[in-house]
Amino acid sequence: MADNYDLIVLGSGPGGYVAAIRAAQLGLKTAIVERENLGGICLNWGCIPTKALLRSAEIYHYMQHAGAYGLTAANISADIDAVVKRSRGVAKQLNQGVTHLMKKNKITVYMGEGRLSAANTLVVKSDKGEEMLTAKNIIIATGARARDLPFAPADGKRIWTYRHAMTPPEMPKKLLVIGSGAIGIEFASFYNDMGAEVTVVEMMDRIVPVEDADVSTFLEKALKKQGMTILTGAGVQSLKATASGVTAEIKDKDGKVAKSEFTHCIVAIGIVPNTENIGLEALGVETERGHIKTDPMCRTNVPGLWAIGDVTAPPWLAHKASHEGVIAAEAIAGGHPHAMDAKNIPGCTYCHPQVASVGLTEAKAKEEGYEVKVGNFPFIGNGKAIALGEAEGFIKTVFDAKTGELLGAHMVGAEVTELIQGYTIGKTAELVEADFMHTVFPHPTLSEMMHESVLGAYGKALHI
């Protein structure tokens, strides 16, 4: 006899486990199926452990610059194994946290590979054999994995994906990073801070290409100042692993091809959705560029089958997946959740300096036909930033000149990933420039720059 549920969630990443918790809270009999680690990539191999690594790199950086704060730190060194060990400990702690949350919410956990045999039936394969589960609704939350270079698949020794880079066999001396999206640039920043000689190759004409062009320009300058080599408009033509490292043929923006040697290479050129071998084809689940197509309530074209997170349309971010998990669970429980607006989903990159943004870039806003008012306030004009010794960066805001709608906000500098949420709340609540101007920002904080940027868009900035 198959176990029967109201809802089965396939995949326990930040989308899946959150969907399961919300469904259980709403009284649905819920199960979750996971093939590897509860918490998925995010907790175990993504967002969280990288933040732990980057924190170590940050502290190392401060120790090296202790003199700037009137302090002395002698005999500073970094132990990559210890840094990685700490990161794994953080991941483990959170993984246990999810286990606890599943138990607390009475969600049945099946460890194994799930495969749909019908729209309402899931076969879970594990060491213990095969189990058949049925459910009124099933949510696909299988996520995505790193995209390989077609001519040089990752081997974990010399050619790494994010996953290998998180538990490196040794500290790279000379590192090539292919791709300058959030993942590529975070690892480039980490290893650069840890003392590696880092080269970033980006095909587009600027790094972090989804961000505002001003942010890309600023970040490129800042990273170069830290000693990073950055090649934009460039492509890797070939990549070969050798006993001592990798050899790459890189075509630069002028079309010249040159051979370079590195000890290791991280491939961060995008993701591939995990849609294979879970029975989607037989059910006729519609996809678009490989990702499952859904409506705003996360329904697929097959009744009773839902999909959330990286396996669906972009942006491919953990918080987007979690929010979709809640929407799907509430819709399944018969509620009427509000659809998510992609323009209100913030994005954060934890390189050094940090990058954070929400909404439209200035160029995109103009392309969409908006007449814009742009504010830009530099960290150097902020007391707290100077006191912190972090006077590099800026906060840029883009308003619709006609309505005062905040179309986008773009930040680069210390702690901006913690600041962006202020604009996100305002944007989601549809506040206009007058509301932001009318808000009192505490002194002394970095957040004062958010105020000044808005004031600046309307020619009213004070400290510049």
Partner: protein, 422 residues
């Protein structure tokens, strides 16, 4: 603190409604989004959702009570953290309506005039709208009171205002104009002792009475009639339906006339207007309200931008809207607005009729039956399928010559129907 659950305004014109059915009982716990009750408004039966979370501690207005004024407390919710039983709240009124008219009883002579109209806008019921929505509405001249919010807790957000038809601006003048007229109070009906039964009016009937009286009293109607040959349109319809059969679409003559009227309105924009006191609204899009007869009266679901829709789209939308209308499930945005109307009584064999304009629109097309008639073609008497169509125009806004132009264009589009599929 117990939370007061108040009679919601489910449509902009709603002043009172019937509490048709409770979907919860005292002691039930509800959370945001749960359906609490079904409420019959002047147009449709709508579901009422909980916004707050808690336990229904008291139901104060019984199921079936009608004439419940918007804002009346209908139930109390005890929040989760609240302690003891709620202070008993005096069951506030189903009052006025109940007192007003007993259901089936010989009326006193004469019948008392209905209670005077409630104020156009319900006092104390704050309009929830985002700052951005308010600003865009102010720029566009859209009245927020006429919109249904889709944001959290029914908040009006940018998308609601942007989706609002420019006509929504007319809710303001229209509403204020309505007020004095509202007591569509017929003079007393004397009782001559003729055996009869008093049938209480439903909300829809009351609205129809009020709006049509308003229209005839305020808008000087002129009527322009043309005879239109249908043979070419019927032939085209046959051919189109043969090719659409595989898609499960079957065009009706009315679907084609909807499109013809919309195209005619775009070609003669002087007839695609609303008269609004000191202003006239000149619409750049033709949204056609289509009269649909339903058991409780009449309702006019809208084909938005019909001039730019294919016949098959119009047909599909119309079937869906008509089905919803019959079930009383139309949403306000599906029947409020429209720039002109069409009413077809051909299927009932009516040869020719004049229709009452649906304010704040300024024209309505009344369609008679298509029938074989003796017809002069090239100076010889022959037989043709002909229908009579009569446009009613609000003469305040539309001159006779412009109305005539619209009728001419409409006639040409129907008689040479390839223009409908071009």
């Amino acid at each position: 603190m117990p939370i007061e659950l108040k009679m919601p305004a489910l449509s902009p014109t709603m002043e009172e409604g019937t509490l048709a059915r409770w979907l919860v009982k005292e002691g039930d716990s509800v959370s945001s989004g749960d359906l609490i009750a079904e409420i019959e408004t002047d147009k449709a039966t709508m579901e009422f959702e909980a916004v707050d979370e808690g336990v229904i501690s008291q139901i104060l207005v019984a199921e079936g009570t009608d004439g419940v004024k918007v804002g009346t407390v209908i139930a109390m919710i005890q929040g989760e953290d609240d302690g003891a039983a709620p202070a008993k709240v005096a069951p506030t009124p189903p009052t006025t309506a109940k007192a007003e008219a007993p259901v089936v009883a010989p009326p006193p002579t004469p019948v008392a005039a209905p209670a005077p109209a409630a104020p156009a806008k319900v006092a104390g019921d704050r309009i929830k709208a985002s700052p951005l929505a308010k600003r865009i509405a102010a720029d566009k001249g859209v009245d927020l009171a006429g919109l249904t919010g889709t944001g959290p807790n029914g908040r009006i957000v940018k998308a609601d205002v942007e989706g609002a038809q420019p006509g929504a601006a007319t809710t303001a003048p229209a509403a204020s104009a309505e007020a004095p007229v509202t007591p569509a109070a017929p003079a007393a009906v004397p009782d001559f002792g003729i055996p009869h039964e008093v049938v209480k009016l439903g909300n829809m009937r009351k609205t129809i009475a009020r709006r049509l009286t308003q229209s005839m009293q305020e808008a000087p109607h002129i009527y322009l009639t043309v005879d239109i040959r249908l043979d070419a349109l019927l032939k085209l319809r046959g051919e189109l339906n043969a090719s659409l059969e595989s898609r499960g679409v079957k065009l009706s003559v009315n679907d084609m006339l909807i499109k013809a009227l919309a195209l005619a309105l775009i070609q003669v924009p002087k007839c695609n207007v609303s008269f609004a006191g000191d202003n006239m609204l000149q619409y750049s899009r033709a949204d056609i309200s289509v009269a649909v007869s339903i058991p409780t009266g009449l309702i006019t679901p809208i084909i938005v931008d019909a001039a730019n829709k294919s016949l098959s789209t119009i047909s599909t939308e119309m079937s869906a809207l008509a089905a919803k209308a019959k079930d009383g499930k139309l949403q306000p945005h599906e029947y409020q607005g429209g720039t002109a109307s069409i009413s077809n009584m051909g299927m009932m064999g009516i040869k020719h009729f004049t229709a009452v304009i649906n304010p704040p629109q300024a024209m309505i097309m009344a369609i008679g039956a298509g029938e074989k008639r003796p017809y002069v073609v090239d100076d010889a008497l022959s037989i043709a399928t002909v229908m009579s169509a009569t446009g009613s125009f609000d003469h305040r806004a539309i001159d006779g010559a412009d109305g005539a132009e619209l009728m001419k264009v409409f006639k040409e589009l129907v008689e040479k129907p390839l223009g409908l599929v071009a």
